[in-house]
């Protein structure tokens, strides 16, 4: 039965040839490490978000009177609705951790350098879109925490002179966070962002596939790399096939991702969902501590520390631009970060600052 099916497909699309040339024939450098699988883990996490999101859409109602109730209905009455929602919540935070680790490892391994500048830029864009996904999705349960966190976050653009108030009104659909804001964020979350995201993911993967995987900047083979003068498919002195070797490594990391998700759901179900996330939104009652989600704590704390809000927001935008365009700014040929102490110190200081600000923002 299975053989007949396989032969039938092979007869029509040349499946065996496809596996031989595009999967087994696609070579992966031997110097790659486990961090090289983080990209596919992130992509898989997005797929989990999409699938669980579709199920949540069946019961969710994007209306201020119904949103919280419908989410509670999913949590209490819909069979296994709690599981779908918990996976959606936990996997979204884990996905951001995976994406962050992916970007950090790419930076440390110097894999953003020529000819992979555009790949980095597209990856950076994907990270920003992921954060927008998180921001827009966060309001949807219409809980006390989501309402007030969104009130604070959507107030941030008011720092800009002239257009600041307009941007805030555009985001909110009025002066305050209301049902209009909920509709806008819902549309953004389920209709506008996914096709943009998928388009950029496609381009990102195309660039990786076309250029080939990089080797870590501090590896032996990286020292023998030829300067990039024109397009050529990257070749490696020592390599192994993408399928099954690398695919198995990726599958291992994906199962670990799932195991970690279920570990958090089992033993720390409130880790990403504090009590205020389970209280309906009340626009007339401000909670004592209004805080955004953990991934926005660092920029939030930075804004609190800098006295001038325009200066605060400007410095953050400059940092984002610097992050996106870094491969075009850093033109040094040296890929080994260990041979660039100033860059290494700067990177560690920024990373340390981000961690400190996140913890500070959480407990301040």
């Amino acid at each position: 039965m299975w053989k007949t099916l396989r032969d039938g497909i092979d007869l029509r699309i040349g499946l065996k040839d496809l596996i031989e040339t595009k999967l087994k024939g696609y070579r992966i450098p031997k110097d790659t490490n486990i961090f090289y699988t983080l990209g596919i883990v992130a992509l898989f996490a997005y797929m989990i978000m999409a699938v669980t999101g579709y199920f949540l859409l069946i019961y969710y109602i994007p209306h201020t009177e119904q949103a919280f109730k419908s989410v509670q209905l999913i949590m209490t009455k819909v069979p296994y609705g709690w599981l779908v929602r918990m996976i959606h919540i936990v996997a979204s935070s884990l996905m951001l951790i995976v994406v962050s680790l992916h970007m950090i490892s790419i930076f440390i391994m110097g894999s953003y350098k020529r000819p992979r500048e555009v790949t980095w830029f597209l990856g950076g864009l994907l990270m920003l879109i992921t954060l927008t996904f998180c921001l827009s999705g966060y309001l949807l349960p219409w809980s006390q925490r989501s309402y007030w966190a969104t009130t604070v976050t959507t107030s941030i653009p008011t720092a800009f002179p002239v257009i600041g108030d307009y941007i805030t009104r555009l985001l909110r659909g009025g002066e305050h966070v209301t049902g209009v804001t909920l509709s806008r964020f819902f549309a953004l979350h389920v209709a506008f962002l996914p096709p943009i995201f998928l388009g950029i993911v496609g381009l990102h993967i195309f660039f990786i596939w076309r250029i080939g995987l990089s080797t870590p900047g501090f590896s032996k083979s990286a020292q023998h790399e030829q300067p990039w003068t024109g397009y050529r498919r990257t070749t490696y002195p020592e390599s192994y096939p993408f399928y099954p070797n690398f695919v198995l490594k990726e599958a291992l990391m994906i199962t670990i991702f799932f195991a970690l998700t279920f570990f958090i759901i089992s033993f720390m179900p409130n880790f990403f969902m504090p009590e205020a996330a389970n209280t309906p939104a009340n626009p007339f009652k401000t909670p004592v501590h209004v805080k955004p989600e953990w991934y926005f704590l660092a920029p939030y704390q930075l804004l609190r520390l800098i006295p001038n809000k325009l200066f605060g927001i400007t410095i953050q935008i400059l940092l984002i631009i610097l992050f996106l365009l870094w491969p075009f700014i850093d033109r040094s040929e040296e890929r080994n970060i260990l041979k660039r102490p100033l860059l290494l110190v700067l990177f560690l200081v920024l990373l340390g600052l981000w961690v400190v600000l996140t913890i500070w923002g959480r407990y301040s």
Binding site: M86, A159, L305
Partner: protein
């Protein structure tokens, strides 16, 4: 390149220099309007009552109110006393419903504007009748205080307070009759809050508990021991029904945890199998 990196490093390291208590400034600047409770605190009532021009005995009212259960539930000055807290010129205008401080015997009707059921039962009670006929019986303030009103509990009933007017026996009997139900309600409240913290918002049960509690406490204000004892079973049954649903939810949470542990173990098993297969392809 080195210059650019040095500038960024200096900028980043020097940022904490500005870090001196800017939280309030940030929050005010980043919210287009003051937060709700701040709006209440910015009322003209508080402005005058905290000013040096106010009589000393009236100056500490805002501080007392800020410690109260009313404050925690966003009940502000004008909700009880009327008037307009946002317009200084009309703050104490009768046209805006200002009633000021009620007389001693007017207090029950003053509080009863919101606490309707309690007012009805209080008026039928010995306390209410004493106030009506002699003008000296206890009113709401006698037990609950005026501005620093706390969440009602059995602690309000104690010997020194009750014996100011009569013996403690009857009050003690009422307190004992109330104890079981109050205890059950307290535990249920904690359980519902615990479930909320665990991601389950029991809206219906919370409302039912609130209704039961309000009705029971309304009944208490009759200060009729026999009536309270007669109704105890009815309230107990209602609370047991809520308790059964709460217990079921706790069981459901245990099932959820076990089910996700099961899924976690499946994926750990898969990871082990993949790892073994992966090792075969290492070379």
């Amino acid at each position: 390149m080195r210059y650019l990196l040095s500038i960024i490093l200096v900028l980043v390291v020097s940022l904490p220099v500005y870090a001196v208590n800017f939280r309030e400034l940030f929050e005010r600047e980043f919210l287009s309007k003051p937060w709700t409770i701040e709006r209440a605190e910015e009322s003209t009532c508080i402005e005058c009552h905290t000013s040096d021009l106010m009589k000393p005995e009236l100056r500490n009212i805002p501080q007392e109110w800020k410690k109260s259960w009313h404050y925690k539930n966003d009940i502000s000055c004008d909700d009880c006393h009327g008037g307009d807290r946002e317009d200084k010129s009309m703050a104490m205008s009768h046209k805006r419903g200002f009633v000021g401080k009620p007389g001693y015997s007017e207090v029950p009707d003053f509080c009863g504007k919101c606490h309707i059921g309690i007012l009805k039962n209080y008026k039928m009670s010995g306390h209410g009748r004493a106030l009506r006929y002699t003008g000296t019986g206890p009113n709401c303030v006698t037990c609950h205080g005026s501005h620093n009103i706390q969440k009602a509990s059995l602690d309000i009933i104690y010997e020194r307070r009750c014996t100011q007017c009569h013996s403690y026996e009857r009050a003690k009997a009422i307190k004992q009759a109330l104890f079981d139900i109050e205890d059950k309600m307290g535990r249920l409240e904690e359980d519902i809050l615990s479930l909320r913290a665990q991601g389950v918002y029991m809206d219906e049960e919370e409302r039912e508990l609130f209704r039961t509690k309000a009705e029971f406490r309304t009944l208490f204000h009759t200060i009729d021991v026999n009536l309270i004892k007669d109704n105890t079973e009815k309230f107990s049954e209602r609370l047991d029904a809520i308790d059964a649903r709460v217990k079921d939810t706790f069981k459901e949470l245990v099932f959820r945890r076990n089910y996700s542990i099961f899924l976690m173990l499946i994926f750990i098993g898969m990871a082990v199998i993949i790892s073994v297969i992966s090792n075969r392809y290492r070379e």
